[in-house]
Symmetry: C2
Subunit: 286 residues, 2 copies
């Protein structure tokens, strides 16, 4: 590609994020969404679903560290983990680094995302053939309704609540998630941005509050998402994300992380005042 | 303005941030830099120096809360505060909310920035006529070399180390800052981004380490800066930013903040692992 190629992710009608593109590696349209993989300048390879940046090689560790290691270091002995979505493979890759994990079931609706990442972004997809990963191409909403398995931790690694991910933000789905969690189970979900999408956060947390005794929001910094400050929700049947977190387990694990660490674990639950105000009554952060 | 007007801030040659512009309110060129104020869609009024976004009405509270209230709630009795730069007025506005502060001296090199903000962004500039603010149009580098005054807290609210702000990142400047701080003084400085400007952070922290017994980095989320995760450095003659922070003083102050709060104060010093690795030996965060 010799022309000056850029891609732009628009947010609403007033913001655009432009990334320099060196090469288009894959471009397809599944029955669910468009799927593109590009080689960028400065951010490595990048996956886009419906034109929205999902992961880049440069910063994917931030998202995957924080979605996986926060619940897996709170639950004292996570053996059976379910990932809904997460087709790039980065979340499953981090989940199976925990020696307690016997199996990571991953239910991704869109085979095209998995195949594109296996072929072009091995950095995230490299553990999808690991025997501990049970990859199911299917509908996560249907899966949690029908399965008789119980999971210690469920991770909802979804896109925004448009397109195929929309039901993943609803009450019926979370009722089913509750039912297939063990009695001390935890669910963590992609939780959008307090800067630009407080309305989605409020709506998701209202659902979690109806279904779970405890709900929290925690933050991290995503380099390539609009606004940078991004969130995950943490809903739990029993464990408090800070009081039941044993920092010693992080060093005992021998694992090293580029983003996550034991200080950041608790710090991530300290939210800016405007987020606390906007989510008042919906989160148990303090 | 009826055409479809956008402005773009480029970062290096691989990233662009585009903002929808409704109206250009001011556009000038001083002896130091270009100065623009635009009315955006979605981010309110926006100040740009040399084409780089400085403040927007939508998110300026994050930057100004975190540059001002972190040092002012660590120092037990800040009376005399110096702001270098900060021509938009937002930092001085936050400084004088502390009842202990008798005077906030502000040394801004570029009268055009001050005048443009007074006229077009009263949200940040509204306290510049307050009798507690002693606004000096002049060179901050020269000021700290020549003044015989002593300050409890100095805040270096500068642009990036290009153009007029370049000397504000050097050792000679910080030696002079050290000399005009009281014996328990604190200096906080605009500290760039660990994502995109680790090299500048390293170079600034090397300088601070030579001059001060303790140096730290703390983070916050800036909606409109490239990458979102932004930093301030905290260098101190005596006080530890967490151990000497008395959270009770925040609630006792009666002040309310849209970004800062007492949990976030300490949490801001918990850095992602990649930042800790990149700044190893240069920060005393833990």
């Amino acid at each position: 590609m010799h022309s000056d190629l850029w891609l732009e992710e628009k947010f609403s009608d007033f913001l655009g994020l432009r990334f320099k593109v060196e090469n288009v590696l894959f471009s397809g349209k599944s029955e669910f969404q468009t799927v593109d993989v590009v080689e960028t300048k400065g951010h490595g390879k990048m996956l886009l679903n419906d034109g929205l940046v999902m992961v880049t090689e440069r910063d994917e560790f931030a998202y995957h560290d924080m979605i996986a290691h926060v619940p897996l270091f709170v639950h004292p002995n996570p053996k059976n983990v379910l990932v809904i979505g997460g087709g790039d493979g980065g979340t499953a890759r981090e989940v199976i680094r925990h020696s307690s994990v016997v199996q990571c079931t991953m239910v991704e609706i869109d085979a095209m995302v998995v195949d594109a990442c296996k072929q072009h972004i091995p950095q995230t997809a490299k553990e999808l053939e690991n025997p501990k990963v049970n990859l199911i191409i299917g509908d996560g909403v249907k899966f949690v309704k029908e399965t008789t398995e119980k999971f210690d931790v469920i991770i909802v690694d979804s896109t925004d609540p448009i397109g195929p991910a929309q039901p993943l933000f609803g009450e019926e789905f979370y009722q089913d998630v509750f039912n297939c969690l063990t009695e001390d189970g935890i669910v963590v979900s992609q939780g959008e941005s307090s800067w630009y999408a407080m309305d989605i956060q409020q709506s998701l947390l209202k659902v979690l509050n109806k279904v779970f005794p405890q709900s929290y929001l925690y933050s991290f910094s995503n380099l390539t998402y609009p606004g940078g400050l991004w969130s995950f929700t943490f809903a739990s049947k029993r464990y408090h994300p800070i009081n039941d977190f044993q920092a010693q387990r992080v060093s005992d694990s021998g694992l090293e992380f580029d983003y996550y660490n034991q200080q950041l674990h608790s710090a991530a639950f300290a939210l800016p005042s405007f987020a606390k105000k906007g989510l008042k009554g919906l989160i148990d952060n303090d």
